[in-house]
């Protein structure tokens, strides 16, 4: 089955961020296709490379990056939600005149149309949120 995953909650704040990651991993292991993972609301914070959790804790953002590298996942961060919360790639930081970017490898920033397209193109859209 072809899935699009919507992640609406931030890492470490909310179980949904972990569950979305675990669901995606399990779906891939079962041979399903992940059309896209879309990060919205505080979910955009799953795509920063600048988090440093305690040494004995899990690395949520890094796990997404590794999963994307292994399976060629399309990890898309909503641009409007990202701008509100300070998630930037190099191009966007330059365009906004900011002095830094923080997007993690394997993620890209794009518009909400990517979420709607995911709903249209996939057999199931699964929402992880509050």
């Amino acid at each position: 089955m072809k899935y699009t995953i919507l992640v609406n909650e931030g890492p470490y704040q909310h179980q949904s961020a972990d569950t979305a990651l675990q669901f995606t991993r399990a779906a891939l292991e079962k041979g399903h296709e992940i059309f896209r993972v879309f990060f919205y609301h505080d979910g955009v914070n799953n795509g920063t490379r600048l988090t440093v959790p305690p040494a004995d804790d899990r690395l949520i953002q890094k796990a997404w990056t590794e999963l994307a590298e292994k399976h060629g996942l399309d990890l898309v961060i909503c641009i409007a939600a990202a701008q509100r919360r300070g998630i930037m790639d190099a191009d966007e930081a330059k365009r906004q005149g900011l002095d830094a970017n923080n997007i993690a490898p394997g993620f890209r920033i794009s518009g909400l149309g990517q979420l709607v397209e995911g709903g249209i193109q996939s057999d199931r859209l699964v929402v992880f949120g509050d």
Partner: protein, 134 residues
């Protein structure tokens, strides 16, 4: 691109969290994809479309006028949970008058709000293909 039945389920109050505002942003984008879009207002989500909202005191933008534009985007089915209204002491008279112009009926102005009880809401949801819950 194919057309699907999209439902956006709104369950949260308009202020306090950003869910309602960002849900509305996806709703407006989905209209541009010419999908068959419906909205449901359940639980505290019914407060999103109450009339007379004034958010000045909390320093937030009052975005409720945007719901009035939904009809112009051909989003004409706004299902409101009758139980959720009743549980909060609200009636349909407390809601904004949200309407659309029916192109198939000489552009007559018609109400977009559809009161639905839990059974009707469940039946409507069963007909959807993509459900986003915020």
């Amino acid at each position: 691109m194919s057309t699907k039945n999209f439902l956006f389920v709104n369950r949260k109050a308009p202020y306090g969290t950003i869910y309602a505002l960002e849900s509305l942003e996806v709703v407006l984008i989905s209209a541009a994809f010419e999908q068959n879009v419906s909205l449901a207002f359940i639980d505290d989500g019914v407060y999103q479309i109450t009339k007379g909202q004034n958010s000045k005191g909390i320093g937030m933008k009052n975005f409720s006028p945007t719901y009035r534009a939904l009809g112009d985007y051909d989003i004409t089915k706004l299902y409101v949970s009758s139980e959720s209204l009743a549980e909060r002491g609200l009636t349909v008279d407390d809601l904004m008058e949200l309407t659309y112009e029916d192109a198939d009926d000489d552009y007559a102005e018609k109400p977009s709000i559809i009161l639905a009880n839990r059974e009707e809401m469940a039946a409507m949801m069963a007909e959807q293909e993509v459900i986003l819950s915020f």
